[in-house]
Protein backbone atom coordinates (compact mmCIF):
# COMPACT_ATOMS: atom_id res chain seq x y z
CA UNK A 1 0.00 0.00 0.00
CA UNK A 2 1.34 3.39 -0.93
CA UNK A 3 -0.37 6.48 0.42
CA UNK A 4 0.00 9.89 -1.21
CA UNK A 5 1.56 10.92 2.11
CA UNK A 6 4.45 8.58 1.37
CA UNK A 7 5.06 10.76 -1.69
CA UNK A 8 4.36 14.16 -0.12
CA UNK A 9 5.83 13.84 3.31
CA UNK A 10 6.79 12.82 5.80
CA UNK A 11 7.27 16.12 7.54
CA UNK A 12 10.66 15.50 9.00
CA UNK A 13 13.96 16.81 10.22
CA UNK A 14 16.55 16.75 7.43
CA UNK A 15 18.75 15.91 5.78
CA UNK A 16 17.68 12.53 4.36
CA UNK A 17 14.30 10.77 4.30
CA UNK A 18 15.99 7.39 4.05
CA UNK A 19 19.01 8.07 6.27
CA UNK A 20 17.39 10.40 8.83
CA UNK A 21 13.56 10.05 8.95
CA UNK A 22 13.54 6.32 8.13
CA UNK A 23 16.36 5.76 10.61
CA UNK A 24 14.43 7.55 13.38
CA UNK A 25 11.45 5.29 12.63
CA UNK A 26 13.60 2.17 12.93
CA UNK A 27 14.72 3.39 16.35
CA UNK A 28 11.11 4.04 17.37
CA UNK A 29 10.04 0.56 16.26
CA UNK A 30 12.87 -1.01 18.27
CA UNK A 31 11.79 1.02 21.32
CA UNK A 32 8.22 -0.23 20.97
CA UNK A 33 9.39 -3.83 20.52
CA UNK A 34 11.34 -3.55 23.77
CA UNK A 35 8.30 -2.10 25.50
CA UNK A 36 10.30 -0.43 28.27
CA UNK A 37 12.77 2.42 28.70
CA UNK A 38 16.01 1.29 27.06
CA UNK A 39 19.27 1.77 28.97
CA UNK A 40 21.62 0.29 26.40
CA UNK A 41 21.60 0.14 22.61
CA UNK A 42 23.89 -1.82 20.30
CA UNK A 43 23.42 -0.63 16.75
CA UNK A 44 24.96 -2.10 13.62
CA UNK A 45 24.76 -0.04 10.46
CA UNK A 46 25.02 -1.80 7.11
CA UNK A 47 25.99 -0.77 3.59
CA UNK A 48 25.05 2.82 2.69
CA UNK A 49 24.03 3.47 6.30
CA UNK A 50 27.52 2.42 7.39
CA UNK A 51 29.29 4.52 4.79
CA UNK A 52 27.41 7.79 5.12
CA UNK A 53 25.71 7.75 8.50
CA UNK A 54 27.70 10.61 9.94
CA UNK A 55 26.80 13.06 7.21
CA UNK A 56 23.11 12.19 7.28
CA UNK A 57 22.77 12.17 11.04
CA UNK A 58 21.70 8.50 10.83
CA UNK A 59 23.31 7.85 14.22
CA UNK A 60 21.47 10.81 15.76
CA UNK A 61 18.21 9.74 14.14
CA UNK A 62 18.32 6.11 15.32
CA UNK A 63 19.30 7.09 18.85
CA UNK A 64 16.60 9.79 18.82
CA UNK A 65 14.03 7.17 17.77
CA UNK A 66 15.20 4.84 20.52
CA UNK A 67 14.64 7.75 22.94
CA UNK A 68 11.08 8.11 21.60
CA UNK A 69 11.55 11.06 19.26
CA UNK A 70 9.52 11.15 16.05
CA UNK A 71 11.05 11.99 12.66
CA UNK A 72 9.80 15.61 12.83
CA UNK A 73 11.19 16.26 16.33
CA UNK A 74 13.75 19.05 16.24
CA UNK A 75 15.56 17.47 19.21
CA UNK A 76 16.88 14.75 16.87
CA UNK A 77 19.74 17.10 16.11
CA UNK A 78 20.98 16.77 19.73
CA UNK A 79 19.90 13.18 20.46
CA UNK A 80 23.38 11.83 21.23
CA UNK A 81 23.82 14.44 23.94
CA UNK A 82 20.27 13.80 25.22
CA UNK A 83 21.02 10.05 25.36
CA UNK A 84 23.97 10.69 27.63
CA UNK A 85 21.85 12.91 29.89
CA UNK A 86 19.10 10.26 30.05
CA UNK A 87 21.42 7.38 30.86
CA UNK A 88 21.10 5.58 27.52
CA UNK A 89 24.44 4.03 26.58
CA UNK A 90 24.86 3.33 22.89
CA UNK A 91 27.46 1.86 20.59
CA UNK A 92 27.69 1.62 16.83
CA UNK A 93 29.24 -1.05 14.65
CA UNK A 94 29.71 -0.57 10.94
CA UNK A 95 29.48 -3.32 8.32
CA UNK A 96 30.23 -1.94 4.88
CA UNK A 97 29.19 -4.97 2.84
CA UNK A 98 26.06 -6.96 3.64
CA UNK A 99 24.81 -7.86 0.16
CA UNK A 100 21.75 -9.74 1.40
CA UNK A 101 20.39 -6.64 3.13
CA UNK A 102 18.82 -3.54 1.59
CA UNK A 103 21.38 -0.74 1.08
CA UNK A 104 20.04 1.15 4.12
CA UNK A 105 19.76 -1.33 6.94
CA UNK A 106 20.40 -1.45 10.66
CA UNK A 107 20.39 -4.06 13.40
CA UNK A 108 19.24 -2.64 16.72
CA UNK A 109 19.63 -4.48 20.01
CA UNK A 110 18.05 -2.81 23.02
CA UNK A 111 18.25 -3.64 26.71
CA UNK A 112 16.10 -2.37 29.57
CA UNK A 113 17.27 -1.96 33.17
CA UNK A 114 16.04 -5.45 34.09
CA UNK A 115 18.17 -7.07 31.42
CA UNK A 116 15.30 -7.77 29.01
CA UNK A 117 16.42 -7.39 25.44
CA UNK A 118 15.07 -7.27 21.92
CA UNK A 119 16.90 -7.52 18.64
CA UNK A 120 15.59 -6.42 15.26
CA UNK A 121 16.80 -5.71 11.75
CA UNK A 122 15.10 -3.09 9.63
CA UNK A 123 15.61 -1.30 6.35
CA UNK A 124 14.85 2.22 5.25
CA UNK A 125 13.34 2.02 1.78
CA UNK A 126 13.39 5.70 0.84
CA UNK A 127 10.94 8.52 1.34
CA UNK A 128 10.78 7.65 5.04
CA UNK A 129 9.23 4.23 4.43
CA UNK A 130 10.68 1.35 6.40
CA UNK A 131 10.49 -2.42 6.51
CA UNK A 132 11.21 -4.58 9.54
CA UNK A 133 12.88 -7.74 8.22
CA UNK A 134 13.94 -9.62 11.34
CA UNK A 135 12.82 -9.83 14.98
CA UNK A 136 14.59 -12.09 17.49
CA UNK A 137 15.99 -14.18 14.65
CA UNK A 138 12.62 -14.62 12.90
CA UNK A 139 12.33 -13.44 9.31
CA UNK A 140 9.47 -10.94 9.13
CA UNK A 141 8.26 -8.33 6.68
CA UNK A 142 6.11 -5.43 7.76
CA UNK A 143 6.23 -1.71 7.32
CA UNK A 144 4.37 -0.30 10.35
CA UNK A 145 1.78 1.39 8.18
CA UNK A 146 -0.89 0.34 10.66
CA UNK A 147 -1.23 -1.02 14.23
CA UNK A 148 0.92 -4.14 14.29
CA UNK A 149 0.94 -6.85 16.96
CA UNK A 150 4.11 -8.93 17.23
CA UNK A 151 3.92 -12.24 19.07
CA UNK A 152 6.36 -15.03 19.84
CA UNK A 153 4.74 -18.23 21.09
CA UNK A 154 5.14 -22.00 21.24
CA UNK A 155 4.25 -23.52 17.91
CA UNK A 156 1.21 -25.50 19.08
CA UNK A 157 -2.04 -26.44 17.29
CA UNK A 158 -4.80 -23.89 17.72
CA UNK A 159 -2.53 -21.01 18.71
CA UNK A 160 -3.58 -18.90 15.72
CA UNK A 161 -7.26 -19.50 16.48
CA UNK A 162 -6.84 -18.45 20.13
CA UNK A 163 -4.96 -15.30 19.21
CA UNK A 164 -7.26 -14.25 16.38
CA UNK A 165 -10.18 -14.99 18.73
CA UNK A 166 -8.79 -12.60 21.35
CA UNK A 167 -8.51 -9.93 18.67
CA UNK A 168 -11.93 -10.55 17.10
CA UNK A 169 -13.57 -10.46 20.54
CA UNK A 170 -12.98 -6.69 20.60
CA UNK A 171 -14.31 -6.29 17.06
CA UNK A 172 -10.88 -5.62 15.64
CA UNK A 173 -10.40 -6.49 12.02
CA UNK A 174 -7.23 -8.36 11.09
CA UNK A 175 -5.85 -6.93 7.85
CA UNK A 176 -2.83 -9.20 7.49
CA UNK A 177 -1.25 -12.03 9.43
CA UNK A 178 2.20 -13.50 8.86
CA UNK A 179 3.51 -16.57 10.63
CA UNK A 180 7.05 -17.88 10.61
CA UNK A 181 8.56 -20.76 12.57
CA UNK A 182 11.93 -21.55 14.06
CA UNK A 183 12.27 -24.94 15.76
CA UNK A 184 9.44 -25.07 18.31
CA UNK A 185 8.57 -21.38 18.30
CA UNK A 186 6.31 -19.37 16.04
CA UNK A 187 6.41 -15.68 15.32
CA UNK A 188 3.22 -13.91 14.35
CA UNK A 189 2.96 -10.44 12.92
CA UNK A 190 -0.64 -9.24 12.85
CA UNK A 191 -1.63 -6.02 11.16
CA UNK A 192 -5.01 -4.68 12.23
CA UNK A 193 -7.22 -1.85 11.06
CA UNK A 194 -8.20 -0.34 14.42
CA UNK A 195 -6.45 0.76 17.59
CA UNK A 196 -5.70 -2.15 19.89
CA UNK A 197 -6.89 -1.80 23.50
CA UNK A 198 -4.53 -3.01 26.20
CA UNK A 199 -6.95 -5.78 27.25
CA UNK A 200 -6.37 -7.54 23.94
CA UNK A 201 -2.63 -7.61 24.53
CA UNK A 202 -3.16 -8.72 28.14
CA UNK A 203 -5.46 -11.51 27.03
CA UNK A 204 -2.92 -12.75 24.48
CA UNK A 205 -0.06 -12.60 26.95
CA UNK A 206 -2.14 -14.54 29.50
CA UNK A 207 -1.95 -17.66 27.31
CA UNK A 208 0.70 -19.87 28.92
CA UNK A 209 2.29 -20.71 25.56
CA UNK A 210 2.79 -17.06 24.59
CA UNK A 211 6.24 -15.70 25.42
CA UNK A 212 6.20 -12.22 23.98
CA UNK A 213 3.56 -9.70 22.83
CA UNK A 214 4.13 -6.13 21.73
CA UNK A 215 2.13 -3.55 19.86
CA UNK A 216 3.92 -1.38 17.33
CA UNK A 217 2.01 1.78 16.48
CA UNK A 218 2.25 3.45 13.08
CA UNK A 219 4.57 6.44 13.14
CA UNK A 220 2.92 9.52 11.69
Amino acid sequence: MTSIFDILGPVMIGPSSSHTAGAAKLGLVARQLLGAEPVKAEITLYNSFARTYKGHGTDRAIVGGILGMKPDDERLRNSLEIAKENGLRYEFKLIMKAPKLHPNSARIKLFDKDGNKIEMVGSSLGGGRIEVVEIEGFKVSFSVMTHTIVIIADDIPGSIAHISGAIAEKNINIANMFVSREEKLANMVIEVDQEVPNEVLQKISSFSWVHYVRLVEPIV
Binding site: L8, P15, S16, S18, A21, R51, G127
Partner: protein, 293 residues
Amino acid sequence: MEINTFEDILRYCRQLNATIPEVMIEYEIKKTGKTREQVIDGLRKILHVMLESVENGLTRDVKSPSGMLNNYAKKVFNAGINVLTVNFKKAIARAMAVSEVNACMGRIAAAPTAGSSGIMPAVISTMMEEHGINEDKAIEGLLVASAIGLLIVKNASVAGSEAGCMGETGSAAAMGASAIVYLLGGSNKQIESASCFAIQSAMGLVCDPIAGLVEIPCIFRNAVGVANAFTSAQIALAGVESVVPLDEVILAMNEVAELMSPKLKETAQGGLANTKTAREIQRRFLYQIDIGK
Protein backbone atom coordinates in the same frame (compact mmCIF):
# COMPACT_ATOMS: atom_id res chain seq x y z
CA MET B 1 -8.82 0.86 -6.28
CA GLU B 2 -5.39 0.16 -7.69
CA ILE B 3 -3.20 2.73 -9.40
CA ASN B 4 -0.09 1.30 -11.03
CA THR B 5 0.07 3.18 -14.31
CA PHE B 6 -0.90 6.52 -15.80
CA GLU B 7 -3.39 4.53 -17.88
CA ASP B 8 -5.05 3.47 -14.61
CA ILE B 9 -5.34 7.11 -13.57
CA LEU B 10 -6.87 8.13 -16.89
CA ARG B 11 -9.31 5.21 -16.67
CA TYR B 12 -10.46 6.33 -13.20
CA CYS B 13 -10.80 9.90 -14.50
CA ARG B 14 -13.18 8.60 -17.17
CA GLN B 15 -15.04 6.18 -14.91
CA LEU B 16 -15.59 8.70 -12.12
CA ASN B 17 -15.86 11.64 -14.50
CA ALA B 18 -13.27 13.32 -12.31
CA THR B 19 -10.03 15.31 -12.47
CA ILE B 20 -6.69 13.80 -11.40
CA PRO B 21 -6.87 15.53 -7.97
CA GLU B 22 -10.33 14.03 -7.37
CA VAL B 23 -9.11 10.57 -8.39
CA MET B 24 -6.15 10.87 -6.00
CA ILE B 25 -8.41 11.91 -3.10
CA GLU B 26 -10.63 8.91 -3.85
CA TYR B 27 -7.55 6.66 -4.02
CA GLU B 28 -6.30 7.91 -0.65
CA ILE B 29 -9.71 7.46 0.98
CA LYS B 30 -9.96 3.90 -0.35
CA LYS B 31 -6.37 3.03 0.63
CA THR B 32 -6.27 4.49 4.11
CA GLY B 33 -9.87 4.82 5.26
CA LYS B 34 -9.31 8.53 5.86
CA THR B 35 -12.10 10.99 5.25
CA ARG B 36 -11.89 13.51 2.46
CA GLU B 37 -11.35 16.25 5.05
CA GLN B 38 -8.48 14.37 6.66
CA VAL B 39 -6.81 14.01 3.29
CA ILE B 40 -7.18 17.71 2.49
CA ASP B 41 -6.08 18.73 6.01
CA GLY B 42 -3.02 16.49 5.72
CA LEU B 43 -2.08 18.12 2.44
CA ARG B 44 -2.67 21.57 3.88
CA LYS B 45 -0.22 20.73 6.67
CA ILE B 46 2.33 19.59 4.09
CA LEU B 47 1.77 22.80 2.12
CA HIS B 48 2.31 24.93 5.23
CA VAL B 49 5.52 23.08 6.14
CA MET B 50 6.71 23.61 2.56
CA LEU B 51 6.00 27.34 2.62
CA GLU B 52 7.59 27.68 6.08
CA SER B 53 10.72 25.86 4.97
CA VAL B 54 11.10 28.31 2.07
CA GLU B 55 10.62 31.23 4.47
CA ASN B 56 13.04 29.78 7.04
CA GLY B 57 15.74 29.25 4.45
CA LEU B 58 15.41 32.84 3.28
CA THR B 59 15.40 34.38 6.77
CA ARG B 60 17.22 32.14 9.28
CA ASP B 61 20.96 31.68 9.48
CA VAL B 62 21.44 28.39 7.63
CA LYS B 63 25.06 27.39 7.63
CA SER B 64 25.63 23.65 7.52
CA PRO B 65 28.00 21.99 10.01
CA SER B 66 30.46 21.20 7.20
CA GLY B 67 30.45 24.83 6.11
CA MET B 68 29.82 23.82 2.48
CA LEU B 69 26.42 25.51 2.55
CA ASN B 70 26.34 29.01 3.93
CA ASN B 71 23.18 31.06 3.33
CA TYR B 72 23.46 30.74 -0.45
CA ALA B 73 19.72 30.96 -1.04
CA LYS B 74 19.62 34.49 0.38
CA LYS B 75 22.56 35.42 -1.77
CA VAL B 76 20.77 34.28 -4.91
CA PHE B 77 17.39 35.70 -3.87
CA ASN B 78 18.94 39.15 -3.31
CA ALA B 79 21.40 39.09 -6.19
CA GLY B 80 21.62 42.31 -8.21
CA ILE B 81 21.91 40.43 -11.50
CA ASN B 82 18.98 38.66 -13.15
CA VAL B 83 20.12 36.23 -15.83
CA LEU B 84 16.52 36.02 -17.08
CA THR B 85 13.89 37.53 -14.82
CA VAL B 86 13.49 38.27 -11.13
CA ASN B 87 10.88 35.50 -10.93
CA PHE B 88 13.26 32.91 -12.29
CA LYS B 89 15.93 33.95 -9.83
CA LYS B 90 13.49 33.81 -6.92
CA ALA B 91 12.14 30.39 -7.96
CA ILE B 92 15.55 28.74 -7.88
CA ALA B 93 16.53 30.60 -4.67
CA ARG B 94 13.45 29.11 -2.96
CA ALA B 95 14.58 25.58 -3.81
CA MET B 96 18.04 26.38 -2.45
CA ALA B 97 16.48 27.79 0.72
CA VAL B 98 14.73 24.53 1.53
CA SER B 99 17.86 22.53 0.68
CA GLU B 100 19.78 24.58 3.22
CA VAL B 101 17.13 24.15 5.92
CA ASN B 102 17.22 20.41 5.25
CA ALA B 103 21.02 20.19 5.44
CA CYS B 104 20.96 21.99 8.79
CA MET B 105 18.62 19.39 10.34
CA GLY B 106 15.64 21.76 10.10
CA ARG B 107 12.02 20.79 9.43
CA ILE B 108 10.95 20.06 5.84
CA ALA B 109 8.37 18.00 3.98
CA ALA B 110 9.91 15.24 1.88
CA ALA B 111 8.62 15.56 -1.68
CA PRO B 112 9.24 12.80 -2.62
CA THR B 113 12.44 12.67 -0.54
CA ALA B 114 14.29 15.05 1.76
CA GLY B 115 17.22 15.31 -0.65
CA SER B 116 14.82 16.65 -3.28
CA SER B 117 12.60 18.57 -0.86
CA GLY B 118 13.36 22.00 -2.35
CA ILE B 119 11.66 21.52 -5.70
CA MET B 120 7.96 21.19 -4.85
CA PRO B 121 7.96 24.08 -2.32
CA ALA B 122 9.74 26.31 -4.84
CA VAL B 123 7.33 25.36 -7.63
CA ILE B 124 4.22 25.78 -5.50
CA SER B 125 5.24 29.00 -3.75
CA THR B 126 6.30 30.50 -7.07
CA MET B 127 2.99 29.50 -8.69
CA MET B 128 1.12 31.03 -5.75
CA GLU B 129 3.03 34.29 -6.08
CA GLU B 130 3.24 34.58 -9.86
CA HIS B 131 -0.18 33.25 -10.80
CA GLY B 132 -2.24 34.12 -7.73
CA ILE B 133 -2.91 30.45 -6.98
CA ASN B 134 -4.71 30.12 -3.63
CA GLU B 135 -4.13 27.42 -1.01
CA ASP B 136 -7.02 25.20 -2.07
CA LYS B 137 -5.86 25.23 -5.66
CA ALA B 138 -2.25 24.66 -4.58
CA ILE B 139 -3.43 21.54 -2.75
CA GLU B 140 -4.92 20.27 -6.03
CA GLY B 141 -1.50 20.85 -7.58
CA LEU B 142 0.06 18.75 -4.81
CA LEU B 143 -2.45 15.97 -5.55
CA VAL B 144 -1.47 15.92 -9.23
CA ALA B 145 2.20 15.81 -8.20
CA SER B 146 1.46 12.93 -5.82
CA ALA B 147 -0.03 10.95 -8.71
CA ILE B 148 3.21 11.18 -10.70
CA GLY B 149 5.30 10.37 -7.62
CA LEU B 150 3.12 7.35 -6.87
CA LEU B 151 3.68 5.93 -10.36
CA ILE B 152 7.45 6.29 -9.95
CA VAL B 153 7.40 4.64 -6.51
CA LYS B 154 5.37 1.75 -7.96
CA ASN B 155 7.42 1.17 -11.11
CA ALA B 156 10.88 2.57 -10.42
CA SER B 157 12.21 4.23 -7.26
CA VAL B 158 12.55 7.64 -5.64
CA ALA B 159 15.44 6.58 -3.39
CA GLY B 160 18.91 7.89 -4.16
CA SER B 161 20.27 4.55 -2.96
CA GLU B 162 18.29 2.77 -5.68
CA ALA B 163 17.86 5.25 -8.53
CA GLY B 164 20.43 7.97 -7.87
CA CYS B 165 19.49 11.62 -8.11
CA MET B 166 17.29 10.71 -11.09
CA GLY B 167 15.02 9.08 -8.51
CA GLU B 168 15.10 12.07 -6.19
CA THR B 169 15.31 15.41 -8.01
CA GLY B 170 14.26 13.80 -11.30
CA SER B 171 11.02 12.59 -9.72
CA ALA B 172 10.47 15.89 -7.92
CA ALA B 173 10.94 17.80 -11.18
CA ALA B 174 8.38 15.57 -12.90
CA MET B 175 5.97 16.06 -10.01
CA GLY B 176 6.56 19.82 -10.12
CA ALA B 177 6.08 19.94 -13.89
CA SER B 178 2.77 18.08 -13.62
CA ALA B 179 1.55 20.48 -10.92
CA ILE B 180 2.45 23.56 -12.97
CA VAL B 181 0.62 22.24 -16.04
CA TYR B 182 -2.45 21.44 -13.96
CA LEU B 183 -2.46 24.81 -12.20
CA LEU B 184 -2.29 26.60 -15.55
CA GLY B 185 -5.25 24.65 -16.89
CA GLY B 186 -3.40 22.07 -18.99
CA SER B 187 -4.95 18.79 -20.07
CA ASN B 188 -4.17 15.37 -18.65
CA LYS B 189 -2.20 14.64 -21.81
CA GLN B 190 -0.14 17.78 -21.18
CA ILE B 191 0.40 16.74 -17.56
CA GLU B 192 1.70 13.40 -18.82
CA SER B 193 3.99 15.00 -21.40
CA ALA B 194 5.46 17.49 -18.92
CA SER B 195 6.27 14.66 -16.50
CA CYS B 196 7.90 12.72 -19.35
CA PHE B 197 10.08 15.66 -20.39
CA ALA B 198 11.25 16.25 -16.82
CA ILE B 199 12.22 12.60 -16.28
CA GLN B 200 13.90 12.39 -19.68
CA SER B 201 16.08 15.36 -18.78
CA ALA B 202 17.12 13.76 -15.49
CA MET B 203 17.68 10.25 -16.87
CA GLY B 204 20.80 8.69 -15.38
CA LEU B 205 21.49 11.55 -12.98
CA VAL B 206 23.80 10.14 -10.33
CA CYS B 207 23.77 10.62 -6.56
CA ASP B 208 27.33 11.58 -5.63
CA PRO B 209 27.16 13.81 -2.57
CA ILE B 210 30.42 15.19 -1.23
CA ALA B 211 31.31 13.38 1.99
CA GLY B 212 27.88 11.73 1.89
CA LEU B 213 26.31 14.98 3.05
CA VAL B 214 23.02 16.13 1.51
CA GLU B 215 24.61 19.45 0.56
CA ILE B 216 26.66 19.61 -2.63
CA PRO B 217 25.66 19.00 -5.38
CA CYS B 218 22.15 18.47 -3.93
CA ILE B 219 21.39 22.18 -3.53
CA PHE B 220 22.20 22.90 -7.20
CA ARG B 221 20.24 19.90 -8.41
CA ASN B 222 17.23 21.14 -6.47
CA ALA B 223 17.59 24.54 -8.14
CA VAL B 224 17.94 22.90 -11.56
CA GLY B 225 15.01 20.64 -10.76
CA VAL B 226 12.83 23.75 -10.48
CA ALA B 227 14.14 25.00 -13.82
CA ASN B 228 13.47 21.53 -15.27
CA ALA B 229 9.89 21.58 -13.93
CA PHE B 230 9.10 25.01 -15.41
CA THR B 231 10.87 24.18 -18.68
CA SER B 232 9.01 20.88 -19.10
CA ALA B 233 5.68 22.49 -18.23
CA GLN B 234 6.28 25.32 -20.69
CA ILE B 235 6.99 22.88 -23.53
CA ALA B 236 4.04 20.65 -22.71
CA LEU B 237 1.61 23.56 -22.34
CA ALA B 238 2.67 24.75 -25.79
CA GLY B 239 1.24 21.50 -27.11
CA VAL B 240 4.39 19.44 -27.65
CA GLU B 241 3.62 15.81 -26.83
CA SER B 242 5.94 13.19 -25.46
CA VAL B 243 6.84 10.54 -28.04
CA VAL B 244 7.15 7.85 -25.36
CA PRO B 245 4.24 7.55 -22.91
CA LEU B 246 4.87 8.19 -19.20
CA ASP B 247 4.44 4.57 -18.16
CA GLU B 248 7.24 3.54 -20.52
CA VAL B 249 9.45 6.46 -19.51
CA ILE B 250 9.18 5.33 -15.88
CA LEU B 251 10.12 1.77 -16.86
CA ALA B 252 13.14 3.18 -18.69
CA MET B 253 13.99 5.05 -15.51
CA ASN B 254 13.88 1.78 -13.62
CA GLU B 255 16.14 0.10 -16.17
CA VAL B 256 18.66 2.96 -15.92
CA ALA B 257 18.53 2.71 -12.12
CA GLU B 258 19.42 -0.97 -12.30
CA LEU B 259 22.28 -0.26 -14.70
CA MET B 260 23.80 2.42 -12.46
CA SER B 261 26.83 1.47 -10.38
CA PRO B 262 26.26 1.32 -6.61
CA LYS B 263 29.12 3.80 -6.40
CA LEU B 264 26.78 6.38 -7.91
CA LYS B 265 23.85 5.70 -5.61
CA GLU B 266 24.24 7.77 -2.44
CA THR B 267 27.29 5.83 -1.22
CA ALA B 268 29.66 8.78 -1.74
CA GLN B 269 32.11 6.51 -3.59
CA GLY B 270 31.95 7.87 -7.12
CA GLY B 271 31.52 10.98 -9.22
CA LEU B 272 31.85 14.33 -7.49
CA ALA B 273 32.19 12.57 -4.13
CA ASN B 274 35.30 10.79 -5.38
CA THR B 275 37.24 13.89 -6.47
CA LYS B 276 40.44 14.83 -4.69
CA THR B 277 38.82 17.87 -3.12
CA ALA B 278 35.74 15.98 -2.00
CA ARG B 279 37.87 13.26 -0.42
CA GLU B 280 39.79 15.91 1.47
CA ILE B 281 36.57 17.46 2.78
CA GLN B 282 35.38 14.01 3.79
CA ARG B 283 38.57 13.39 5.78
CA ARG B 284 38.35 16.78 7.41
CA PHE B 285 34.70 16.60 8.49
CA LEU B 286 33.76 12.98 8.80
CA TYR B 287 36.63 10.99 10.10
CA GLN B 288 36.36 12.41 13.55
CA ILE B 289 33.92 9.57 14.00
CA ASP B 290 32.46 8.98 17.43
CA ILE B 291 30.88 5.54 17.42
CA GLY B 292 29.80 5.65 21.02
CA LYS B 293 31.18 3.86 24.03
